[in-house]
């Protein structure tokens, strides 16, 4: 079949709403009678709460309630989708500077903010562990004295740090989670290697800076909880909220309008429980909007210290790799167990590694909680794995492209033992990058190129549902539980439905992310929507067509099999096409009714083998380094989005360039810095993200389409790929330009200048 609508760079309808200011985001939702909340936050990294005096705050004008954990009696006072260790409001002690201690609810935003300053919290300071290294000390203070029972969800159970047999509830160390992966005989391989190259790298704490801060508005009335929030995964948030209030899932409704950027940082539960307890206490809608500083303290990315050692034969082929990974995961687990598991899976790269040994630990520290951020685990792991490969290439006298061509897996080959083989031609992708870089290479002193390859086990756990509702006028309502946070899923899913049903794109309307009225979706993350929801939409369309054929046979005679699919309807045995609407109207016997097609995706058939697909990251850069100032300029940025099939090519390029740009940010500018108990730079002045003037003059975003994904028309996910190997590519380009191998990001002018002058990376 020739595609009509998919594969075209169609106008995204959500963009039309967004350029006029009409698009609704959570921050714009204020039900009538809404109260406003402000969080009172910890001023210590680790301290026992001895007293909370709310008298003055309660007397402040407009204040309705001041809530602490003492008021949450009868509730399950914590949340967390893997390990429910996260207190809604601190219980007994605080574990990081910025942790919510009390919630002030008032008639206006300013009234709540004024009163929050009057809540008097007394602390007794405890020794704090501010770094992963400190957390690993034998007699380190414990961030958590208790080990919490983990989720029994199939895809998280293996991630749990604690045994679910109830053997021990007492925590003995600060290890939140531990993962090992091993095959072959690593020690023997190192013993016979022609070359062994070792590196140690540090990946900084990052903040995703989604420009719409975390916010939610909750209404708890008559035993029903309705929350509108910025959550990427409304169904996961629903589960946490139902557990807190002991409500049936059906009585918790989480709705997500347009999201002002997510990048993974809005995965899982954040501010929803705070808004919900505010409404539970006051009986009125409660809105909580964080500012940027509060958002930074809510979720950051895991910092990583990684030691890597690789063994090669004399032709540059990998014999063995060994990694020791330590993540600084902050005060609460959130999604860090999964970030660690992914760092382990993704650190050694899409190469043939006959002998492998990896040990990873995620550590609790008295810093802000870490969780998902675009590509999670992959950027941290790739920095070590890819930089080490480049370092080895130099030692072996091989080019960066050549060493990868010698080691990359072939299409179909396994990267992880027993998992889906790679559904991509990585060597062909790399050649595309190399050709583009070579065309414009400066090849002068002070310039260097770097390439980076990664393949991520993406798609997450395949549970997805979709509904298409065919209307009497032939238009189509498409329902999905996935969220639109800018990535363009709403438009791409409409394209798929229009293609499948043979209707015009303008006839399809998409409604998303409402657990109360729409179908279930496990998550919107891991680049899964186009592939997995796309499959669910295809199946829903087929289901609707089948129902229409059955109804047409009942109305017009014959068998359902006599009614062939046709654009916008079915073709009967006599020839003419009967539109969906006409079949519906004739079957119901009135100008009324509709037909709903349902599509379900689980671990079965095409999506049986894990991961559902591999997400490819394939990038190249050329940098110029100013020896006097240490300033790194990116001259060329080249990416290949290997997406199998691009449903909307311009949207795919946009996602890949966006991911690459965030990767440049992590490589060159971005780093959250702790100094004592608190961050030095919890704001967008001192946490510098890429600006328009930082963008390279040459940007070449290419798309590779080989129809090799399991998704619709051979599609597979996009959106994280280009970020994953970017930091490593930049770091190795800087190494080639300067002759010095970076050990730490970001490569700020000062850090590069220090490296050029033989000084340690930090003053």
């Amino acid at each position: 079949m020739t595609e009509r609508i998919v594969g075209q760079s169609v106008r995204r309808r959500d963009l039309l709403e967004k350029v006029t200011g009409a698009a609704t985001y959570t921050v714009d939702v204020v039900p009538s009678g809404t109260l406003h909340a402000k969080v009172v936050r910890s001023t210590h990294a680790h301290a026992r709460i001895t007293e909370i005096d709310r008298t003055a705050a309660l007397q402040s004008p407009g204040v309705v309630a001041v809530i602490t954990s003492d008021d949450l009696g009868g509730l399950f006072p914590r949340f967390g989708h893997i390990v429910p260790d996260h207190c809604i409001l601190a219980i007994g002690k605080v574990r990081y500077y910025g942790e919510p201690v009390a919630l002030v609810v008032a008639e206006s935003v300013v009234a709540a903010a004024d009163a929050a300053q009057l809540v008097d919290v007394r602390y007794e300071e405890l020794p704090a562990v501010m770094t992963a290294a400190a957390a690993l000390e034998p007699d380190a203070p414990l961030v958590h004295e208790e080990a919490y029972r983990a989720s029994n969800d199939e895809s998280f159970a293996a991630m749990a740090a604690t045994p679910d047999d109830g053997a021990s509830d007492i925590s003995r160390d600060n290890v939140a989670h531990e993962v090992s992966l091993e095959w072959g005989d690593v020690d023997s391989a190192f013993a016979v290697a022609a070359a062994v190259v070792e590196d140690q790298v540090h990946y900084p704490m990052l903040y995703a800076y989604a420009m719409e801060p975390y916010n939610a508005v909750a209404t708890f009335q008559d035993g029903h909880l309705h929350v509108v929030s910025t959550a990427q995964h409304p169904f996961m948030v629903r589960t946490d909220l139902a557990r807190i209030f002991s409500l049936p899932l059906a009585r918790v409704r989480v709705e997500v309008p347009y999201v002002g950027g997510g990048y993974g940082s809005k995965s899982y539960t954040k501010v929803e429980p705070l808004a919900a307890v505010g409404s539970w206490v006051t009986g009125r809608p409660v809105k909580l909007v964080l500012d940027v500083e509060e958002s930074i303290y809510t979720t950051r990315a895991d910092a990583a210290d990684i030691r890597v050692r690789s063994a090669f034969d004399d032709t540059g082929c990998i014999l063995a790799r060994e990694f020791e990974i330590v993540l600084d995961s902050g005060a609460y687990a959130d999604n860090s167990p999964l970030v660690l598991a992914k760092a382990v899976n993704r650190c050694f790269g899409p190469y043939r590694v006959p002998n492998l040994r990896i040990h990873g630990r995620s550590l609790y520290t008295n810093t802000s909680p870490a969780s998902s951020y675009r590509g999670f685990g992959a950027p941290q792991g790739s920095l070590a794995g890819e930089l080490n490969l480049d370092h080895a290439a130099q030692e072996l006298g091989i080019g960066p492209v050549e060493i990868r061509l010698r080691n990359l897996v072939e299409p179909g080959q396994e990267i992880l033992r027993g998992k889906r083989g790679i559904d991509a031609d990585l060597k062909a992708d790399l050649e595309m990058v190399a050709d583009s870089l070579r065309r414009d290479a400066k090849s002068a002193p002070g310039y260097g190129i770097g390439v980076g390859c990664s393949a991520s086990d993406a798609g997450a756990f395949p549970v997805s549902t979709a509904q298409v509702r065919l209307q009497t006028d032939g238009s189509v309502l498409l329902l999905s539980g996935s969220t639109e946070m800018g990535q363009g899923s709403r438009s791409a899913l409409a394209q798929i439905a229009a293609e499948e049903l043979g209707v015009a794109l303008t006839d399809v309307h998409v409604a998303q992310s409402d657990t109360g009225t729409g179908p279930y979706e496990r998550t919107t993350g891991a680049s899964r929507t186009t592939t997995l929801v796309g499959l669910a939409v295809q199946r829903a369309c087929a289901d609707a067509r089948g129902k229409i054929a059955t109804m047409a046979a009942e109305v017009f005679g014959g068998q359902a099999a006599d009614y062939e699919p046709a654009p916008g309807g079915v073709r009967g045995p006599d020839g003419p096409v009967v539109g969906f609407g006409e079949v519906i109207v004739r079957w119901f016997g009135a100008n009324a009714g509709e037909v709903t097609g349902i599509g379900l995706v689980r671990r079965d058939g095409a999506t049986q083998k894990m991961p559902p697909f591999w997400e490819v990251g394939m990038v190249g850069v050329e940098v110029g380094v100013d020896e006097e100032t240490g300033v790194v300029e990116v001259e060329q940025l080249v990416t290949v989005a290997d997406v199998g099939f691009a449903i909307n090519p311009k949207a795919v390029e946009g996602q890949d360039l966006g991911a690459a740009t965030q990767g440049l940010g992590g490589a060159l500018y971005e780093e959250l810095v702790y100094d004592g108990p608190q961050l030095l730079n919890p704001n967008i002045v001192e946490y510098r993200v890429p600006r328009i003037g930082d963008m390279p003059r040459k940007i070449d975003t290419m798309i590779a389409e080989r129809h090799d994904g399991v998704g619709p028309y051979g599609a597979k996910g996009a959106g994280e790929g280009a970020l994953n190997p970017m930091a490593a590519a930049v770091a190795s380009a800087v190494a080639r330009a300067t002759g010095h191998w970076p050990t730490q990001l970001p490569l700020t002018p000062e850090r590069v200048w220090r490296m050029l002058n033989g000084l340690p990376p930090n003053a």
């Binding site: 963009l15 008639e107 300013v110 997510g262 940027v292 800018g486 966006g658 002045v685 940007i699």
Partner: protein, 166 residues
């Protein structure tokens, strides 16, 4: 609401409509637009005048509505993203932002559109370098900026009535 007893009367022209309200002295222009007038197209992000998301035009010049006081717009004109599409017809910048995929999540977009309008009002024929320079105070976390530069240059060509090549 807090501040009512200290209200300052403000009369301004917002998107061509004269409005009068009593505002508290610490009320920001962003709160005035979003909460008092229901013009929620203007978004607030960094609250430190470095992200540009809340940019609106006051007497034709760009300001950060997150920190500009509502009391200071008395007697002035304010333009927001809601005022760009005259008579329901998209402004050339809005059209070219959509056609060039110059936005994804859209949270920064109202600010970019107002800054770009301010640029083209002053300089109908900017170079690529001038576009980058003028928009350096606006952050976008989604697009990588290239499509935004292309969109502004294309809208400028259209507004000068030169042929637009897609």
């Amino acid at each position: 609401m807090t501040g009512q007893q200290y209200g300052i009367d403000v009369t301004a022209e917002v998107n061509g409509v004269e409005v009068t309200r009593s505002v508290s002295p610490r009320h920001t222009l962003a709160q005035f637009l979003r909460d008092d007038l229901g013009l929620t197209g203007t978004k607030v992000s960094c609250e430190l005048q470095v992200c540009g998301a809340c940019s609106v035009l006051v007497d034709g010049a760009p300001v950060s509505a997150c920190t500009y006081l509502a009391a200071d717009i008395d007697g002035r004109t304010v333009e927001t993203v809601e005022g760009l599409a005259a008579g329901g017809e998209l402004h050339p910048l809005q059209r070219s932002f959509v056609d060039n995929f110059a936005l994804q999540c859209g949270f920064c977009t109202p600010g970019f559109l107002m800054m770009a309008k301010s640029l083209l009002d002053r300089n109908p024929d900017p170079t690529e370098e001038e576009v980058r320079e003028y928009l350096d105070g606006n952050i976008c976390r989604c697009t990588g900026y290239r499509p935004i530069v292309e969109a502004v240059l294309e809208a400028a060509r259209e507004m000068r009535q030169e042929p637009v090549n897609d």
